[in-house]
Symmetry: C2
């Protein structure tokens, strides 16, 4: 894969190559001249998509639908939204799917046409089987939360490149994942718009010339709200993101700015840059997706309309780019891009992210796990908005960080942090955590 | 040069290379083990700077002064500012200089310490001799106007890479210059901040994925002025540029937007992109220096504080970057970047640039020559501000474009256009050209 740039000349060279001369004849009799008018190579990339029914999964399938000659969907893994999954199965004809559990698998089977021979698996092993199925060229890892960790690691260990939208994988187990990717020589291609922007801005640049990475953040729906108003934020308010249409978990993370905290940690791991050389700008228009500052003062930025198909398509076909439908970026019409320093007083999650990254080891996994529990509690009305970073901070404070040993260690820390945060929310209740 | 990235490993490999075994002894006796703790290669780049006393020349020498271990100044060519040149000679100790004419050469000699053995040349041949002197690794071509054309071509024909700040070279003789550069396999490195930005944004990207180039323009000091007020612009007003501190000619070109017209033509030639795939945004803050739009909708931009040392240093050490002193880009403090469509009614020069580029052949040379004459007349009070594009348009209208044959052809067209424009200004006078 990835050799689109040389298909033309390479194919032509192969076709012009003279036949080996037959030993009994003078060699010049045996050159075969072939005139090639045009060569069309069909290099189809076989995909396994983990989190197919989520926002990233759906956008990935939209890219596939726009370029059917480029991709084949070998496998899909999803959670419990079997109605949507059944439609995707009908459209993309994967050979293998996996869902959350046996109950969901049963419901899915009922939705498919009778006589369908599709293999349906369930649970984490099912997702890992989809990720590592024979013939998979690229895994799109877009399951939400720590659930995406195991199948992603399975793919890497099987030597399969991963387009990574599951940021918890790098946050919770960055050292493990990067070590496995290095060992297997496997590409990890970021799908997050910010990290895709950094990857694009770093293309063709010397790593030693990089001074600082800058992530942009929309600031979420409460960017300009005073602290007392933040205390009364409801789930419905927090779910309305100004620029991006995303899943519930990431939309809340965006409102608390924990999303940016996770992205800072992810960028440090992915690009091997100390966290204190990663900055954040609030950029409400979400047009500049991130920037790289170099030692000479030059800054390279990647811009685009807020459309997840762009970073997804880039990860799918890197280093090539696919034409995508949709309106181009029109800076004349946008007219104005603004920037602010983030306010870590009103949005302490960002500060917690830097602290966890500086501490390293198991601490980022604790931050991530506690946040998952706190966000779920907030969405269920069991925790106020400002309680989310409080739960994360208290859980981090109760944890003694250790270097990560292996996946079991990460999962154990994840379980501990989830339980601790859960107990915190139950015991202290809504009033003491606001 | 330009292999800074491999100095370390390469040097180490050379040092570890075993001695050739002496034929009478078993070979294993003759391996010399060398342990290299650190290798410091001193790869000095020898520069010839054409236009040393101009704005770009001075900024180039500022970069050299900041990194004396990187560069040696072999030669300087300047015009008539021998006082400044004498100071530069004292500081950078070139072996060879050239000035506008013998009179200036005489004045320069008087300014230098007695007993100085510096070789002083004069005229176009002198500048060409500086550009092609033995040992020159890179020519910085920063003479103003068509005067820079001949020495730049001489350097290319001598196989010497050129850092090109003289945009008239590519505007007037693009096809010649690019053909010579291709034939000699010589790098042309743009120094203009816009073209440097495009070059930086194109690094590591596939040429076939480029959809459009976008140049930014400050809009100059009269960006928001109504047409009737533009009619009364004085040279003093036009010489006050809001962002860049540059020479007089380019500052007036910036005020008429002819500078952007020349840059559009230059970009088309340098990057081999049809002029109708090059757009212009007015961006008054001059922070985003230019952008590249790709087929997938992604846009890569280069940003920086308005400081010509950045693109100059990049051209000098490409693909490496040198640390440069000065404040970093602080988007939080800048707070706002704005963009507008250019108004070709009030600033017809931009329209003329596109027309000249579409016509091609000798037409861009005519646009450039007529503009040089018109700007000089404006600065001398012989032509109103709005007369500048009028003179250019009328001269273009009187010209029958032809494909460029050779340098003599370009110089002949240049002479014709200058004379025609001059006559136009003298005959019609100030009143009929406003």
């Amino acid at each position: 894969m990835g050799w689109g740039g040389v298909i033309g000349p390479q194919a032509r060279r192969l076709c012009y190559k003279p036949l080996a001369p037959f030993p009994n004849f003078p060699p010049h009799h045996f050159f075969l001249q072939v005139r090639v008018e045009s060569v069309k190579m069909e290099v189809v990339k076989n995909l396994a998509i983990l989190g197919a029914t989520g926002s990233i999964g759906q956008s990935t399938l939209a890219v596939v639908a726009e370029h059917p000659q480029e991709f084949r969907v070998l496998g899909l893994a999803a959670g419990r939204n079997v109605e949507l999954l059944a439609g995707q199965i009908g459209q993309f004809q994967p050979g293998l799917v996996s869902v959350q559990d046996e109950e969901a698998a049963g419901r899915l089977r009922e939705l498919l046409p009778s006589g369908n021979t599709l293999q349906i698996l369930a649970g984490p092993q099912g997702a890992a089987a989809v990720a590592t199925a024979a013939g998979v060229d690229l895994v799109v890892s877009a399951m939400v939360g720590a659930a995406g960790l195991e199948p992603t690691l399975s793919a890497i260990q099987a030597g399969i490149p991963v387009a990574l939208a599951n940021k918890e994988t790098l946050v919770a187990a960055g050292s493990l994942v990067m070590a496995a990717a290095r060992e297997k020589g496997v590409d990890l291609l970021p799908v997050d718009s910010e990290h895709s922007a950094l990857m694009q801005a770093l293309q063709g640049q010397r790593r030693e010339d990089v001074k600082k990475l800058w992530l942009t953040a929309s600031g979420g729906p409460f960017r300009a709200w005073p602290a007392d108003r933040l205390a009364r934020v409801t789930p419905a308010q927090a779910l309305r993101h100004p620029n991006w249409n995303m899943g519930a978990k990431i939309t809340i993370d965006s409102a608390t700015m924990m999303n940016k905290a996770l992205e800072v940690i992810e960028a440090a791991v992915l690009f091997g840059v100390p966290v204190d050389r990663i900055g954040v700008y609030i950029h409400p228009q979400s047009i500049i997706h991130s920037l790289v500052e170099f030692v000479d003062g030059s800054v390279i930025a990647q811009l685009g309309v807020p459309d997840m198909r762009l970073p997804i398509a880039y990860a799918l076909t890197y280093p090539r780019r696919l034409p995508l439908s949709g309106p181009p970026l029109d800076l004349g019409q946008i007219a104005q891009l603004t920037f602010e320093e983030p306010d870590v007083e009103r949005f302490p999650s960002l500060r917690l992210g830097y602290e966890a990254a500086r501490t390293g080891g198991t601490m980022p996994a604790v931050l991530n796990a506690a946040n998952e529990v706190a966000v779920a509690a907030f969405l269920e009305g069991r925790l106020p908005f400002l309680g989310i970073p409080r739960v994360v901070e208290e859980t981090m404070g109760a944890h003694t960080p250790r270097p990560i040993q292996d996946l079991a260690h990460v999962l154990e820390v994840n379980r501990w942090a989830r339980e601790y945060a859960q107990r915190l929310i139950e015991e202290k209740g809504a009033t003491n955590l606001s």
